[in-house]
């Protein structure tokens, strides 16, 4: 067992369940995510992975079960407050601000983080440190040339990158990436991978992915979700060798 696994989990769920009428999307999921770990959540389509993320971030209310962050029960905490506690997500389908520029979007994220969101009595320009940080952030992730371009006009791979950058602007302690590589063409995915690899060691990262390259490269632990429940958990090697997982998901082509 690694030291990461022995430390107190930063994010835990206990028997988290979500039912929509007669359909159970998430079924009694119990997860312990260690601080600083890189954990992947894989599973076939419709297994409930995005629903789980929606529950963790507060977009959906659980039917049953609990979620705790640093030992605090956040099951009923509103979505925006979770972000302020450091729990931030990205979306599988780009959920950006089409009519705003990346600079404006980043400034928004920074403003809200700095509790400037309801400041109406001074211009944003006069809060120059916001734009400065936004510029720096975009520069760090090679998006500086798009700073003043409408988001809708950026190439898809760059938008996907912006998706992560916006999340990082909120200074997360725990980052939930929902299929970060989804739809990104081969030649643009390298940059994305580098960004994910370059995330700070102290940041806890939970990511949903179908791209097995990404999963086996970055994950220290993998949880396999099938039909809303955790089938098995373990290191990449254990998962790759597990016959149940093979049957349910991987097929016979992988590792």
């Amino acid at each position: 067992m690694t030291t990461a696994a022995l430390a107190t989990p930063v994010l835990r769920t206990r028997k988290l369940t979500k039912r929509f009428g007669g359909f159970t999307a998430v079924n009694g999921v119990t997860l312990d995510i260690a601080p600083g770990s890189r954990q992947a959540l894989i599973g076939p389509n419709g297994a409930g992975k995005t629903t789980l993320i929606n529950l963790l971030t507060g977009i959906l209310r659980p039917t049953d079960g609990r979620i705790s962050l640093d030992d605090d029960d956040i099951t009923h905490l509103p979505a925006d407050k979770r972000v302020h506690r450091g729990l931030v997500r990205t979306f599988q389908i780009n959920t950006l601000f089409p009519a705003l520029t990346p600079l404006q979007a980043a400034s928004l994220a920074i403003s809200e983080r700095e509790a400037l969101g309801n400041v109406w009595w001074r211009t944003l320009r006069s809060c120059s440190w916001v734009a400065d940080e936004a510029h720096a952030l975009l520069k760090q992730f090679n998006l500086a040339q798009y700073a003043h371009v409408d988001t809708a006009e950026m190439p898809y791979g760059k938008q996907r990158l912006l998706e992560i950058v916006l999340a990082l602007a909120a200074r997360p302690r725990i980052l939930l990436l929902d299929e970060p590589a989804a739809g990104v063409p081969e030649d643009e995915s390298g940059e994305l991978f580098e960004v994910i690899a370059g995330l700070p060691r102290e940041m806890t990262v939970l990511f949903i992915e179908h791209d097995m390259d990404l999963v086996f490269r970055f994950a220290q632990r993998i949880s396999v979700l099938v039909a809303g429940a955790v089938l098995v958990e373990g290191t990449p090697a254990e998962i790759a060798a597990d016959p149940q997982v093979r049957a349910a998901y991987l097929g016979n082509s992988r590792v």
Binding site: I59, A79, F91, R113, G117, W120
Partner: protein, 321 residues
């Protein structure tokens, strides 16, 4: 079609020209002062509605509630002994802000339909209330005896409307500048963000409902000031200031000028009231009929009002952050 580029400095220049031209009507159109004063007040009301509708995305056909309440507050204050003009404005602003904030809790939950219903319902409710409380409000006859003291102790409200014009111009310009500041503030960007992608706003930690409530509160406060201005400059408050018809009318005016654009309300008011004044000799039913036709055409054909059309011709390069 390639758009013509306008940089931010040119825009500011245009703005200055606009306000100077407006001010100059004092000298150029002295017989139309009353009309222009009313245009400015209506423009302010439309701007207030725009904050709720164009920026916060709250569909309301009941905004006359705040306009009317502001009017009655200012009118009653003056009638019952305190005719100092600015006090009336402050009272209207404060009360409508509080009322708007309280109502905003109802408004930001529920679907578009529920929201619409509540806004219409509240407006009609206040209308009925004013109608019933005849001893206080004057009921269907309206509130009379609104005795205004001179502005700053010096300038009497004269019969030609000169004081009223200057007073209104200053207040409207002041409120306009406040709104302009607000739209350039972090809060203003937040409103745009909510408009653009609400889910994303939640995901970056924005308490969306709270922000929308604040916007509605502003919208109500400014509408109240507009109503107070009307009461003070006409020295009369009528029931129709609280009516559904007034709410529908201001909505039409805003649509005409263009929502979500700072000058939409003012342009709309200018156009609408000038045309209305022109046709005012005709039968009022005639006006209503053609207004209806116009609305139908606007929806089926035109998009975005006057400023919307202009925006397809001119591209404004935004002020760099």
């Amino acid at each position: 079609m390639t758009k013509l580029n306008l940089n931010p400095r040119q825009i500011v220049a245009l703005e200055v020209v606009f306000w100077l031209a407006l001010a100059s009507t004092y000298f150029l159109l002295p017989e139309k002062l009353v009309l222009i004063t009313q245009i400015m007040i209506t423009g302010l009301f439309a701007i207030a509605l725009d904050i709720a509708l164009g920026y916060a995305g709250i569909l309301t056909v009941g905004h006359a509630a705040f306009f009317g309440i502001g009017a009655y507050l200012a009118g009653l204050l003056a009638k019952y002994g305190w005719g100092e003009p600015f006090s009336g404005l402050v009272l209207a602003l404060g009360v409508c802000a509080v009322l708007g904030y309280m109502l905003s809790y109802l408004i930001v939950r529920g679907s578009d339909l529920t929201r619409l219903m509540i806004t219409i319902g509240v407006c009609v409710l206040f209308f009925e209330l004013a109608n019933r409380l005849t001893p206080i409000t004057g009921g269907a006859d309206g509130l009379q005896g609104v005795d205004m003291w001179p502005v700053l102790g010096q300038f009497r409200f004269d019969l030609w409307g000169k004081t009223a014009f200057i007073y209104t111009f200053c207040i409207v310009l002041l409120m306009f500048l406040a709104v302009r500041l607000m739209l350039k503030s972090p809060f203003g960007l937040v409103l745009r963000g909510i408009h653009d992608n609400r889910r994303r706003m939640l995901a970056i930690g924005s308490p969306v409902a709270a922000r929308l409530r604040l916007a509605y509160c502003f919208s109500a406060a400014i509408a109240g000031v507009a109503g107070a201005l009307l009461a003070q400059t006409t020295q009369f408050v009528g029931l129709e200031m609280l009516s559904f018809n007034r709410s529908a009318e201001i909505l039409i005016i805003l649509i005409l000028g263009g929502t979500g654009r700072l000058y939409g309300g003012l342009i709309g008011a200018l156009l609408y009231m000038t045309v209305h004044d022109f046709f005012s000799d005709f039968d009022p039913k005639f006006w209503q009929f053609w207004l209806g036709i116009f609305l139908i055409l606007v929806v089926m054909i035109g998009r975005g009002g006057v400023l919307g059309v202009l925006s397809r011709v001119f591209k404004v390069r935004e002020q760099r952050l």
